[in-house]
């Protein structure tokens, strides 16, 4: 009996011990779980904070980017458009250079064959000294003894510089000419050059000169049109007679120069070699 009781008590004690130990274990486990949970919580908070930090950094970065974006000035396409022109500064005298800029560069008339033909005429004027006889001038014949005591006869009279007359005429009429269609206007410009070149002389070679001028337009596409325009200019009361009036005005307003045929005539330079065009912005 005693044994059974003792066994029972022992069993109970053992059971109790077990129970306690079990409970302790349970508690430990619970504590562990709590700890873990705490740790997890802390970790989550940490993570959250880190994320927040990252977010803030990102936000700041984005804001900075935005600000930067607002401050950046994007370069526009500001390169000037380049056109192929001749180098008139180098090739031509000042007044011819002015004419080239007035006619070609201001209107962007770089279409061929007009552009090259005009430049050919400008170079021709530049290389040679063409002059137009002043009709108001009275040629004076001079019998003058030269260094060898020989009497030589020469003539003196007033001449206009052909370049001056062309420059005045075109400058005076360019606004009226530009009212015409592009190709007509270009032909009118060339017609003025030809008209005044025909009136010019190069020292005494007056007759040869008319032929040479006519040859200038031989292979030009619109040579017939130009001839018609010249006829129109010379006709009174025609649409283009304002050009003739302007030429008359040029004779009145331009200075004359003295000329004597005693001078050694210079060679006529007719072989015009066109230089290369190059791209140039205006």
């Amino acid at each position: 009996m005693f044994n059974s009781i003792s066994i029972l008590t022992i069993a109970i004690i053992i059971a109790i011990v077990f129970y306690y130990s079990y409970q302790q274990k349970q508690q430990k486990v619970k504590l562990m779980i709590l700890k873990k949970e705490k740790q997890e919580k802390v970790e989550i908070e940490k993570k959250y904070q880190e994320e927040q930090k990252l977010l803030e950094i990102e936000k700041n970065y984005l804001r900075e980017l935005k600000e930067k974006k607002n401050n950046i000035i994007y370069k526009l396409q500001t390169d000037k458009v380049k056109y192929s022109f001749y180098n008139s500064d180098r090739d031509l005298k000042y007044s011819l250079d002015y004419l080239y800029k007035l006619i070609v560069q201001n209107n962007l008339w770089i279409n061929e064959p007009f552009h090259s033909k005009l430049y050919e005429l400008l170079i021709l004027l530049n290389e040679n000294e063409f002059m137009i006889f002043d009709r108001n001038s009275q040629p004076i014949k001079m019998n003058i003894r030269d260094h060898n005591n020989q009497i030589s006869v020469s003539h003196a009279y007033e001449v206009f510089d052909t370049i001056d007359i062309i420059e005045f005429t075109i400058r005076d009429t360019i606004n009226d000419i530009l009212k015409y269609k592009k190709y007509d206007a270009q032909n009118i410009i060339l017609a003025i050059f030809i008209l005044l070149l025909k009136k010019s002389q190069h020292y005494l070679s007056k007759n040869i000169f008319v032929e040479i001028v006519e040859n200038l337009l031989k292979d030009y596409k619109y040579s017939n049109e130009i001839k018609n325009i010249i006829n129109l200019i010379n006709k009174e009361n025609s649409e283009l007679s304002f050009i003739k009036n302007s030429v008359k005005k040029a004779y009145q307003r331009t200075d004359t120069h003295p000329y004597t045929d005693y001078e050694v005539s210079r060679q006529l330079l007719l072989d015009v070699k066109l230089p290369q065009k190059f791209l140039q912005a205006i």
Binding site: I140, M142, N143, E263
Partner: protein, 157 residues
């Protein structure tokens, strides 16, 4: 241009020369061209050359030629066929001088006209110093004369 070959109208000492026409006979368009320098400080004018201009032709270009021309005028009919500038002609018993020049017209000079022209030629030297034209005559070249005529507006009408 042609004009750039004309150097200058100043003489070798840089003295500015002027040119003025003196009418000897307006009907026949015969002029004496005075070429002179002016000294404004000394208030003196020095003749440097004299030319004879007939219509639009300069007949004589040196002082000696000009004096020669005037003397032929002065001699009138005493001159003969050795005259350089004037021929003695006779028409209806009246003697005249005919100008030898390359013009379109025949220019005849009567005795009275010749006398008048000679008189004006002598009057033209009054007020000028003549010595300089003999010692230091300004030698003209066509270029210089052309420029001189241009600057004094004698080339235009």
């Amino acid at each position: 241009m042609a004009y750039d070959q004309i150097f200058t109208h100043n003489d070798e000492f840089g003295v500015n020369l002027k040119i003025i026409p003196v009418a000897l006979n307006l009907d026949k368009e015969i002029y004496l061209l005075h070429i002179f320098e002016e000294d404004l400080e000394a208030k003196k004018k020095y003749i440097r050359n004299e030319l004879i201009l007939v219509e639009s032709q300069i007949l004589t270009s040196t002082f000696s030629d000009t004096v020669h021309f005037m003397e032929e005028l002065s001699l009138f009919d005493i001159g003969n066929n050795q005259n350089k500038y004037l021929d003695v002609t006779e028409y209806k018993n009246t003697k005249n001088l005919k100008l030898k020049y390359d013009g379109d017209k025949n220019i005849f000079i009567s005795r009275s006209e010749a006398k008048a022209m000679y008189k004006i030629f002598n009057l033209a030297f009054m007020g000028y110093s003549v010595a300089s034209v003999l010692e230091n005559e300004f030698k003209l070249t066509p270029q210089v004369l052309t420029k001189l005529l241009h600057e004094n507006k004698l080339l235009g009408n």
